[in-house]
C-alpha cells in the first residue's frame, strides 16, 4: 500500500470529454479510457500538455472521449502523425492509441519503425483480435482457426503476430501487456509507460463482446507474469515465447537514447521547416 500525503488535485473525470462513447456496452475499450484518465490524473498533467493521437477503428474513437488535445487520424497512420507532432512539440506528452488492425495490419510498418526510432511517446494497442468497426473480420492477432467471419470460413490459417515479440525484435525500449479487466493495474502500467523516456508500447487485451463474445472469459485466463521486468532482450524474448499471450506485466524496459529530430545530429528544426512551407 503506497500512501503519500500529496493531495491529487485533478480528477480522472476532468480528462474525459462531454462526448459519450458509442462503444457497445461491455466493450473493453471503456476500461482503457478509464485507465488513461486515471494515469493522467495521477501524474497531474495539465490537459494542454497532453495529446492523444489515434487511427481508425472502434478503439481509435478514444481520442474524442478525452479532453486533452486529440487527433482522430487516418487508418494505420496514428504513429506517423504522432511522430510529426512530437518532432514539432517535444514538450507534449504524446499518447497514441488504436486497435490491433489499425496498428498491426495497415499500420504495421509504422509500428516497427516507431519501435526502433524510440521517440518519447506511449503507444496503446487495444487488442481484441478482430476488426470491430467493420463488423468482425480477422486481424493479424486472430488465431488461425477462428472461423466466425464469413470472409475467412474455417479461419485464416495464418499464424498470428505476437505484438510484444514484434515490438521487442523491432527495438522498442518499453514493452508491457495489460488487461481491461484490471483497469487500475492498467493505469499503473500507463504511468510507468508515460514516465519511460522513449517509445513505450502497451498491448492491452481488450475484449470485443459483440464479435468475440468468448473473450468475456478472458478474466479467467489472464494472470500476472511471475518474473520481474527484464532489461535483457534475450530473457524478454524467452518470456514472450514461453507465454500463452495472456500474462500481464511490464515485460521489458531498457534505457536507450531517445530520438528527437534536432538532437544528436538528425535534421529537423520544425520552425525552419514551417517557414520553408509558408505561402
Amino acid at each position: 500500500m503506497n500512501q503519500s500525503n500529496a493531495p491529487i488535485q485533478i480528477k480522472p473525470k476532468d480528462y474525459k470529454s462531454a462526448i459519450k462513447p458509442v462503444w457497445c456496452p461491455g466493450c473493453g475499450d471503456f476500461a482503457v479510457l478509464n485507465a488513461i484518465t486515471k494515469a493522467l490524473a495521477f501524474l497531474e498533467l495539465p490537459k494542454e500538455d497532453v495529446a492523444l493521437i489515434s487511427g481508425i477503428g472502434c478503439s481509435s474513437r478514444i481520442a474524442a472521449y478525452t479532453s486533452v488535445y486529440g487527433f482522430h487520424g487516418v487508418h494505420g497512420r496514428a504513429l506517423a502523425l504522432a511522430a510529426g507532432l512530437k518532432a514539432a512539440r517535444e514538450d507534449l506528452t504524446v499518447l497514441v492509441a488504436g486497435g490491433d488492425g489499425d496498428g498491426l495490419s495497415i499500420g504495421g510498418n509504422h509500428f516497427i519503425h516507431a519501435c526502433r526510432r524510440n521517440m518519447d511517446m506511449t503507444y496503446i494497442i487495444m487488442d481484441n483480435r478482430v476488426y470491430g468497426m467493420t463488423k468482425g473480420q480477422a486481424s493479424p492477432t486472430t488465431a488461425p482457426d477462428w472461423g466466425d467471419s464469413k470472409l475467412t470460413p474455417g479461419g485464416t490459417g495464418i499464424r498470428p503476430f505476437q505484438p510484444a515479440g514484434l515490438a521487442l525484435s523491432a527495438g522498442a525500449s518499453f514493452i508491457a501487456r495489460g488487461f481491461t479487466g484490471d483497469p487500475n493495474g492498467l493505469a499503473r502500467m500507463l504511468v510507468a509507460a508515460i514516465e519511460h523516456p522513449g517509445f513505450s508500447f502497451i498491448q492491452v487485451l481488450s475484449p470485443c463482446p459483440t464479435f468475440r463474445p468468448e473473450q468475456m472469459n478472458w478474466k479467467h485466463h489472464v494472470q500476472a507474469f511471475e518474473e520481474e521486468t527484464s532489461s535483457d532482450p534475450l530473457l524478454a524474448a524467452q518470456r514472450i515465447q514461453a507465454d500463452d499471450g495472456m500474462s500481464t506485466g511490464i515485460i521489458y524496459q531498457e534505457d536507450v537514447p531517445v530520438f528527437q529530430p534536432g538532437n544528436g545530429g538528425a535534421p529537423g528544426d520544425a520552425v525552419r521547416f514551417e517557414s520553408e512551407f509558408e505561402i
Partner: protein
C-alpha cells in the same frame, strides 16, 4: 493477511470506503451513458439513480471524515479482493437490450458485496472505531439492498427476459 488485518487505522478505512462508493458511482454513471447511447433510456435512468445513491453515500462518509486527514491512495494501491472495489458493477455485465429488472439484479449484487465488505470489518477489525463505523456502513448497505428488493418487486419485468432484436446493430460479416 486479509484486508481487515491490513487496515489498522480509521483514516485508511474511511479512504477505502469513500473510494468504494465513488468508484461504484462512476461505474453506474458509465453504464447509464452506455445505455443512453444505445437508446435504452429506462435502464439508463435506473443506473443514473444508482450512481446518485452511491454518491450520496460517499458524501456521507466524507462528512464522517471531516477534520481528519485521510491518506491519498493511488487507484492501483487499493488492496481490493478483486481487481475493482466490491460495489463496482462488472462493466461486461450489461447489454443494450437489458431491462430494469436485470439492471437491478446487477445493483443488488454490488450492494451485497459492499455489505459483506463492511460487515467483515465490523466483525474482524482489531480497531473498535473501525468496527463501529463499519457496522454502521454495513447496516446502510443492508437498507439499500432492501430498497432494491422492493424496487425489483414493483417492476413487472423479469430477470430471465431475453429480448430478441430482429435487426441487431451488430451482425458479423
Amino acid at each position: 493477511m486479509n484486508l481487515t488485518q491490513k487496515i489498522t487505522s480509521l483514516d485508511t478505512f474511511l479512504a477505502y470506503s469513500i473510494a468504494l462508493e465513488e468508484e461504484a458511482a462512476d461505474r453506474h454513471d458509465e453504464l447509464a451513458d452506455m445505455l443512453d447511447v444505445h437508446n435504452n433510456p429506462g435502464v439508463a435512468a435506473t443506473f443514473r439513480k444508482l450512481a446518485h445513491y452511491s454518491r450520496l453515500h460517499a458524501q456521507e462518509i466524507r462528512d464522517h471524515s471531516k477534520g481528519r486527514s485521510l491518506p491519498v491512495i493511488a487507484p492501483w494501491d487499493f488492496d481490493w479482493e478483486n481487481m475493482e472495489g466490491p460495489e463496482t458493477a462488472d462493466i461486461g455485465a450489461v447489454n443494450y437490450l437489458m431491462n430494469t429488472a436485470q439492471a437491478l439484479q446487477i445493483a443488488m449484487g454490488n450492494e451485497q458485496r459492499a455489505h459483506d465488505f463492511y460487515y467483515q470489518f465490523s466483525q474482524q477489525s482489531q480497531d473498535p472505531e473501525i468496527r463501529a463505523m463499519a457496522g454502521e456502513f454495513a447496516e446502510e448497505e443492508k437498507e439499500h439492498l432492501d430498497l432494491l428488493k422492493m424496487w425489483m418487486d414493483s417492476t413487472d419485468e423479469s430477470v430471465d427476459e431475453q429480448v430478441y432484436d430482429p435487426d441487431p446493430a451488430h451482425m458479423p460479416e
